[in-house]
Amino acid sequence: MIDIRNVSKLYGPKPAVQDLSLQVSAGELFAFLGPNGAGKTTTIKLLCGLLFPTSGSVRVGGFDLRTHGDEARALISYVPDQPFLYEKLTGREFLQFTADLYAMPPEKSAEKIEEVTKLFHLDEFIDDLTERYSHGMRQRTVFAAALVHDPKLLIADEPTVGLDPKSIRELKTLLRKLADSGTTVFLSTHTLDIAQELADRIGIIDRGRLLGCGTMEDLRRQASMDGNLEELFLAITKEAAAEATV
């Protein structure tokens, strides 16, 4: 589903992503980890077609984001860390707008809106203007909108920020269920226990370079240690930092 080949992205002279290659297959839940400023969000923006690589190519569902971006984006849903909603629309109107944008037939969109409303417990406020929503309510509405059109690829940047523990638990179950049903989930997070619990594979990025990628076992082999993800993450990034200073 995701095919990133030798991608580098410069911000002026400064590299944000360097020679990144990564493949994620359909139905896989992939967690992308890295310290602040490591290149996670830039990679996500490249995946959504918001930015274009300085070199290399990014493909989603076989469509190159540079030449067939509209087709690729029709397969994608993106949940950013800072959710955007039209303040003067109700939650329901926002979901309807999203469904219309993805050309869903009216009956199917009505059915899906009902479904995601129940799934994310939006019933109580779905017909209020979104300007009155709290951060958690906004996050749930954005997630509902992201899933209303059955995307093939769900990209989520820090999806648990602002959610209460119950919502986080439900979200984790949902993400796993989505991946099991064939949707590719690309998750960028700082919450290592979520990555360890949910992800099929984990990628660790720092200073724009992919330092490690694979299952927990693969990462343990790479770090030559037998710890949890937090220990592995710290070991791999520390080693890379030491190499960079040499």
């Binding site: 002026g12 959504c48 918001l50 984006r73 955007f84 629309l89 999203t98």
Partner: protein, 568 residues
């Protein structure tokens, strides 16, 4: 490829529905919760339109009194200049608003990650930008031409065609500006600073040459008591050429005024067809370059700049040395934010320079014994110009300060500084800055004009009252009518609170200048005509000072009360 793609939506329809829903919900909300706000907005717009109509009526009547033909070359030249000026303003205002909404708004980030096509996103943003930038054009344009029609006597269809002319004319500069904005962002060289410096120097040089020629033409026409206008009119040939859209407008409007319907319809068709063509070209450019332009803008990697304290900060701190340490820190913080944003102070410098150039030109005319100008009349104009400059500048820079603090107010809220102190800090920042700028401008220009010391002292006092009063109005009303959801200061200024503030500010300065300065100038103008001296011209000073005191106390008190009750 193997993956089944969803069908493609009729995105034009989807975005139309979105806009309709947004407008409908906003209107419903305004009628339910903010009826006073809505009616005040309509009321202030009508007030501005009415005021423009009255001024237009007066000026067109002056033309009638001086036997200047309404449908002749002079009025045509004036309309050319008017349309050209309004068109140029539309180019800049649409371009600035569109740039912000296409490249920096969270909505476009959201839409660019969706399957929305680049040209549809562009069109949505374009319509909003044009509506935003042109309401002033329509509100000012319609009353001027209504006044023209009433005084000069025009057929009924002049009034019917007027909105069509104005709406059509909005499209062309707006689309041109949009296309230019996209191309500039996409293809601008990395070293933007040098690029804009070169462009700025070229434009400044061309403007200087043109202004010099206008000055020469003006001098010649004054010297011949208006008999030789050819040189002056010649400088405006570009605006009168058959390829200038502003001239199509003039031709059409004048033809309608002369009861020549076919002569009016042809330019109207020309305006609409060219406007629509330019819009299609802009949308096509957007389809081709918008996404790459966004990428270019976001990642062009402006080199990291290290900011230090500046000697100007120390000067500012010295200017407010009479305040306590905490308030001084707040004042310097506001000043630092102000000086680091060149768009904030560039306009002030531009207006100031224009005024000083005008005053120094007058000095040359005086030296040449050109009696047609009177230094008392010019100095009054300078006083009004300075006051309007202050009103516009403070509305633009000071009024949004509290609103812009909105989302990060908790930082200040947690510091050991009272909210009253925050307000006073902003007031002293505004008052000190505006006093220094306005007094420098008015005293320099009056000195250049050779005004006697009584005039200088009076102007210094009037400007002080206006500067302090307007500062308090802007800070007070800014706290009383904040817009915390908006992050773009230009949108805060044209919102409800900004409009009320602007109208109140204009009313205040008209009252103060009218009461304190106009009698003095009227006396001196009458003296030229043989009138005598009269000490009563200063009788309005206490009343003006009292109005100034009220303008400080009332808004600051209301603003402080409102700020104390706010929850962040």
């Amino acid at each position: 490829m193997g993956i089944e793609l969803p069908p493609v939506a009729d995105q034009g329809r989807v975005f139309r529905q979105l806009r309709l829903r947004l407008i409908r919900n906003s209107l419903r909300l305004a009628l339910e919760n903010g009826r006073t706000r809505l009616f005040t907005m309509i009321g202030t717009s009508l007030f501005v339109a009415g005021f423009t109509f009255a001024v237009g009526l007066y000026l067109f009547n002056q033309l009638a009194i001086n036997n200047i033909p309404f449908k002749g070359a002079i009025v045509e030249a004036l309309f050319d200049l008017l349309f050209f000026t309004l068109g140029t303003m539309l180019v800049f205002s649409t371009g600035i608003i569109l740039f912000a909404s296409l490249f920096t708004s969270p909505e476009t980030r959201f839409l660019l990650c969706s399957p929305a096509r680049a040209d549809h996103i562009f069109v949505t943003k374009f319509q909003a930008a044009v509506a935003f930038s042109s309401w002033g054009f329509v509100i000012l344009g319609i009353p001027i031409f209504l006044a023209f029609g009433m005084v000069s006597g025009v057929p009924w269809y002049f009034y019917a065609l007027l909105p069509l002319f104005l709406l059509g004319y909005v499209l062309l500069p707006g689309s041109f500006s949009a296309a230019l904005c996209l191309l500039l962002v996409r293809f601008l060289p990395r070293n933007r600073r040098q690029f804009f410096l070169v462009i700025g120097i070229v434009v400044a040089a061309l403007s200087a040459v043109w202004l010099y020629k206008v000055g020469v033409g003006l001098r010649k026409s004054f010297a011949t008591s208006g008999r030789e206008l050819d040189d002056l009119i010649g400088q405006f040939n570009l605006l009168r050429s058959s390829v200038a859209p502003s001239h199509w407008m003039t031709r059409g409007v004048m033809a309608a005024a002369r009861d020549d319907l076919s002569g009016a319809l042809l330019p109207l068709a020309q305006i609409w067809s060219n406007g629509l063509l330019m819009f299609v070209i802009a949308a096509w450019i957007a389809k081709r370059v918008y996404r790459t332009a966004y990428d270019q803008y976001t990642t062009s990697g402006r080199s990291r700049k290290v900011y230090h304290t500046n000697w100007l900060d120390r000067v500012m701190e010295m200017l407010v040395v009479y305040l306590d340490k905490r308030t001084r820190v707040l004042v310097v913080k506001d000043f630092r934010t102000f000086r680091r944003d060149p768009t904030q102070w560039a306009l002030l410098i531009l207006f100031g320079l224009l005024m000083l150039i005008g005053a120094s030109n007058f000095r040359q005319y005086s030296a040449a014994d050109l009696a047609v100008m009177d230094k008392y009349a010019i100095s009054l104009m300078n006083l009004c110009g300075t006051a309007i400059l202050l009103c516009a500048g403070l509305s633009r820079f000071i009024f949004p300060l509290i609103s812009l603090e909105g989302r990060k107010f908790w930082i200040l809220g947690l510091t050991p500084v009272s909210r009253d102190q925050l307000l006073w800090g902003k007031f002293f920042f505004a008052a000190t800055g505006s006093l220094v700028i306005a007094e420098t401008l008015i005293l320099t220009s009056d000195a250049l004009l050779g005004l006697p010391w009584q005039g200088l002292a009076l102007h210094a006092l009037v400007v002080a009252v206006v500067a302090v009063g307007l500062s308090a109005l802007n800070v007070g009303l800014g706290a009383y009518l904040p817009t915390f959801r908006e992050t773009d200061p230009s949108k805060i200024v044209v919102g409800f609170g900004g409009t009320v503030n602007m109208v109140v500010g204009l009313g205040f300065l008209i009252a103060v200048i009218g009461i304190m300065a106009v009698p003095f100038h009227t006396l001196h103008l009458a003296r030229k005509a043989g009138g005598g001296a009269n000490p009563w011209v200063f009788a309005g000073l206490p009343l003006g000072l009292a109005i100034g005191a009220l303008a400080v106390i009332l808004p600051l008190r209301a603003g402080a009360r409102s700020l104390r009750q706010m929850e962040f």
